[in-house]
């Protein structure tokens, strides 16, 4: 009996130290970079205007969809807005804007002031839907293809280089 106790005890300790060792090798900063190349799933976005849901089926209709997460209270979102407006001119790209933890009134006046680059606007008042996309701060933007694979992921505001890169990807097909 005593042997079994000793043995189990040592095993537990080895296991714990093993876990410690494994944890050392892990990057413990939460990162969503590895989401690139993965499929998005479980998406149900509520429309901004009327009681309509936006689902995976809607996303499958487009060759490429750019999903941008924004809010009226977010300063960097303002900075990247002109780039989104330019991207809107590309026919091959559908643009979805997810309005993140925002008041409808503020969001509307934001779009009235700066222009509306989106083909579809969804609302995510509680910020929960955005988590399904692997979003942890805004602005963030993901580019997906017809198979719903995430091709690119941009954390922070889009810049000129990102703009050209997106155009390049979209026009290659």
């Amino acid at each position: 009996m005593q042997r079994i106790i000793k043995f189990t005890f040592i095993l537990i300790l080895i296991f714990t130290i093993g876990i410690f060792y494994l944890s050392l090798k892990k990057d413990n900063n939460y990162s969503t970079v590895n989401l690139v190349g993965k499929k998005i799933h479980n998406v149900k976005l509520e429309s901004f205007e009327e009681d309509k849901l936006f689902t995976l089926e809607d996303l499958k209709k487009n060759n490429f969809t750019l999903i941008n997460f924004w809010a009226s209270w977010c300063a960097p979102c303002r900075a990247e807005h002109p780039i989104l407006m330019n991207l809107n001119k590309t026919q091959k790209l559908k643009m979805v804007g997810v309005n993140f933890k925002d008041k409808k009134k503020n969001a509307e006046s934001f779009l009235n002031d700066l222009g509306n680059p989106y083909d579809f606007i969804a609302r995510d008042e509680l910020g929960k839907q955005s988590i399904n996309f692997g979003i942890y701060g805004i602005p963030e933007t993901i580019l997906i293809n017809k198979e719903l694979l995430i091709i690119k992921k941009y954390v922070g505001p889009l810049n000129k280089q990102d703009y050209y890169k997106i155009l390049e990807i979209v026009s290659n097909l």
């Binding site: 300790l13 714990t16 876990i19 410690f20 060792y21 494994l22 944890s23 050392l24 413990n28 209270w73």
Partner: protein, 627 residues
């Protein structure tokens, strides 16, 4: 220059450690009972050298010698002198120096203070302690060297995190390390006792004051850390169940269990192997805590810049400690059947130990569980206050009752002849409790039970005090500690139940009312200080019912090196309550977010812990006198 001197002194310390181990083994071979005087001398020189080494580092911080990477990264010439000095141990490398100093000085003091104990036991303790010292010296020399130089020499340092520029934080690490690292000496002593079969009550006598010293400082360290968190983190709480706070509590529970068990070993010669387990466990938990904090596995306010090499080194060292001690323990362990009466002091001490182990395991599991799930399943979970509060607090009720009854029991066999007395105390406790809740209107069963049980402990300890004064046989240390612990739980209970909290968005000139309170945002001031700028709010809090007005001045500070914003809470303390107010700006608006809290009995929580340690100090002095 200082870099070379520091490195030289570090190498010298390592060499002295090696020679201490060598000469101790030489001395063990001889038959005489005396320890060579050269061992004492080397140990003294070792303490001097390591202190000199530490002062070299402090000097580098004082004169802002940025040729040392450590000084460059953690200091700045504009920093006030006190924080330049405390910056020495406010970083990973420097704090390790503090570790080694405590290891070395405790090693020396244990050697000279235990002259009545057998030579073999003392020498083996010295050997084990020096193995630990060497482990840490190598870690410093080859991985975390505070004396590494940088070229070309930078003109200015990178500064110290402004939230660390605080008097409480200047003394928090040294206090806590005295507890953490102090436990190394009874780890070494326990290993030595196992090897030399030193298994009677004199072993208890040799370590009991060391356990108390580390316990007292550990308690003070935790207290100062909590006070700092209370006024600096701006949240209004003092305990967050943050994994790193938990890491400091784990050895504390082991120590508390240990010095209670030591009484049984000393008086009744029982529980020897259990005492050994607790000795080993305390230091192992301390090193585990260090590993969790320094490796960067846990994220918290305590996390230093992480470096996997560091983690690997501490983990290897930890494994060595664990398996070394387990190997020796299993080799020497022989099962003993203790037959103790279920109604005796021995049993009550054992019950104390069960509770301590319960708390320890709960917190250990809560702390390690997220690490396990993350490593095994890649899912991130967090174990926080709801878990700890739900598991720990109901058990505290039973614990406090045992704590009240236990000290009055007799060794070997007890009879409850004071049952009526206990019932009277319980009735009084219940009556006071209902009076409190009747007047202040707040009600949950658990908080009632907690208040009742803490009052039960307080009153029965006071009763003990009166009885023992009559018999002129006062165990003041125990009574003070137990009463203070009762008061601690009592005040935490009141504080938890009767706190008021309000979040407001206010503009300058605005006045808002809620409950019996009115808050007036009078004006804002801008002030320039040496190393930061401050926006100071001027707010008046009025208790309308009592007509009592207090002015509070929360600050938003802008530090330059590195550029950081901090929010300083304004706190008005008096004997009954604290007003706690924080202010933060809302981007691009004239509104400020004002968070107001009324926290009853805050200061008494701190005072209770101070008295708890006072009990510990009294016991240390009494033991020293008796020896």
């Amino acid at each position: 220059m200082l870099s070379n001197l520091g490195n030289l002194l570090l190498f010298l310390s390592a060499f002295l450690s090696l020679s201490l181990i060598y000469f101790s083994f030489q001395c063990l071979k001889e038959s005489q009972e005396l320890i060579h005087s050269k061992i004492f001398q080397i140990s003294l020189v070792q303490s001097t050298v390591i202190l000199a080494c530490f002062f070299t580092l402090i000097a580098a911080f004082i004169i802002s010698d940025f040729s040392l990477i450590n000084v460059y990264q953690n200091s700045h010439s504009a920093k006030p002198l006190l924080y330049k000095i405390s910056g020495t141990w406010g970083n990973h490398e420097g704090s390790l120096m503090l570790w080694v100093i405590i290891l070395v000085i405790f090693s020396f003091l244990f050697l000279i203070k235990n002259k009545l104990h057998p030579k073999k036991f003392r020498l083996y303790t010295l050997i084990f302690q020096n193995i630990i010292i060497l482990g840490f010296l190598f870690f410093i020399l080859f991985n975390s060297n505070p004396f590494t130089s940088i070229s070309p020499v930078p003109k200015e340092g990178l500064g110290l995190n402004p939230i660390l520029q605080d008097p409480a934080l200047a003394i928090h690490p040294p206090l806590l390390y005295l507890g953490f690292v102090g436990s190394s000496i009874y780890f070494s002593a326990a290993m030595a006792a196992l090897i030399t079969d030193y298994s009677d009550k004199s072993f208890a006598l040799s370590i009991k004051n060391w356990v108390l010293i580390s316990w007292v400082f550990q308690t003070l360290g935790i207290l100062v850390g909590s006070i700092w968190a209370y006024y600096e983190l701006g949240w209004g709480g003092f305990w967050f169940w943050d994994p790193v706070e938990n890491a400091s509590l784990l050895p504390w529970f082991a120590m508390t269990a240990l010095f209670h068990s030591l009484i049984v070993l000393e008086k009744r010669n029982l529980f020897y192997f259990w005492v050994i387990i607790l000795c080993l466990m305390t230091f192992i938990l301390s090193v585990t805590g260090t590993f969790l904090v320094r490796s960067g596995i846990l994220n918290s306010v305590h996390t230093f810049a992480s470096d996997p090499g560091r983690g690997i080194y501490i983990l290897s060292f930890l494994s060595l400690l664990i398996f070394g001690s387990i190997f020796l323990f299993f080799k020497k362990y022989c099962a003993k059947n203790y037959s103790i009466n279920s109604n005796s002091k021995e049993t009550f001490v054992l019950i104390n130990n069960w509770f301590m182990m319960f708390y320890l395991l709960t917190i250990l599991i809560g702390t390690l569980y997220p690490i396990f799930t993350d490593a095994l399943t890649d899912s991130k979970i967090s174990v926080g206050p709801p878990f700890y509060n739900a598991v720990i607090f109901p058990v505290v009720v039973a614990f406090l009752i045992f704590m009240a009854v236990g000290p009055n029991t007799k060794w070997i066999k007890n009879r409850f002849d004071n049952l009526i007395n206990l019932i009277i105390i319980a009735v009084v406790a219940i009556a006071i409790n209902f009076a409190i809740f009747y007047f202040f209107k707040s009600y949950t069963i658990l908080s009632n039970l907690i208040i009742i049980s803490s009052l039960f402990l307080i009153i029965s300890s006071l009763n003990d005090l009166i009885k023992s004064i009559k018999k002129s046989n006062i165990d003041l240390a125990r009574i003070i500690s137990h009463i203070s612990f009762g008061f601690l739980v009592f005040f935490i209970g009141l504080n938890h139940n009767f706190s008021i909290e309000r979040d407001l968005n206010m503009r300058v000139g605005e006045t808002k009312k809620f409950h019996n309170y009115q808050i007036k945002f009078k004006n804002l001031k801008l002030k320039d200080y040496d190393n930061y700028k401050a926006i100071i709010g001027n707010l008046e809090v009025e208790n309308i019912k009592l007509g009592d007005k207090k002015t509070l001045n929360p600050e938003i500070r802008i530090y330059e090196n590195p550029r950081t914003l901090t929010y300083e809470a304004a706190i008005k303390t008096n004997f009954i309550k604290d007003y706690y107010l924080t202010m933060s700006n809302i981007d691009r608006s004239e509104f400020y977010n004002i968070k107001f809290q009324k926290k009853p009995m805050m200061i008494w929580i701190w005072i209770s812990v101070l008295f708890l340690t006072l009990g510990g100090f009294l016991r240390i002095f009494k033991n020293a006198k008796n020896n």
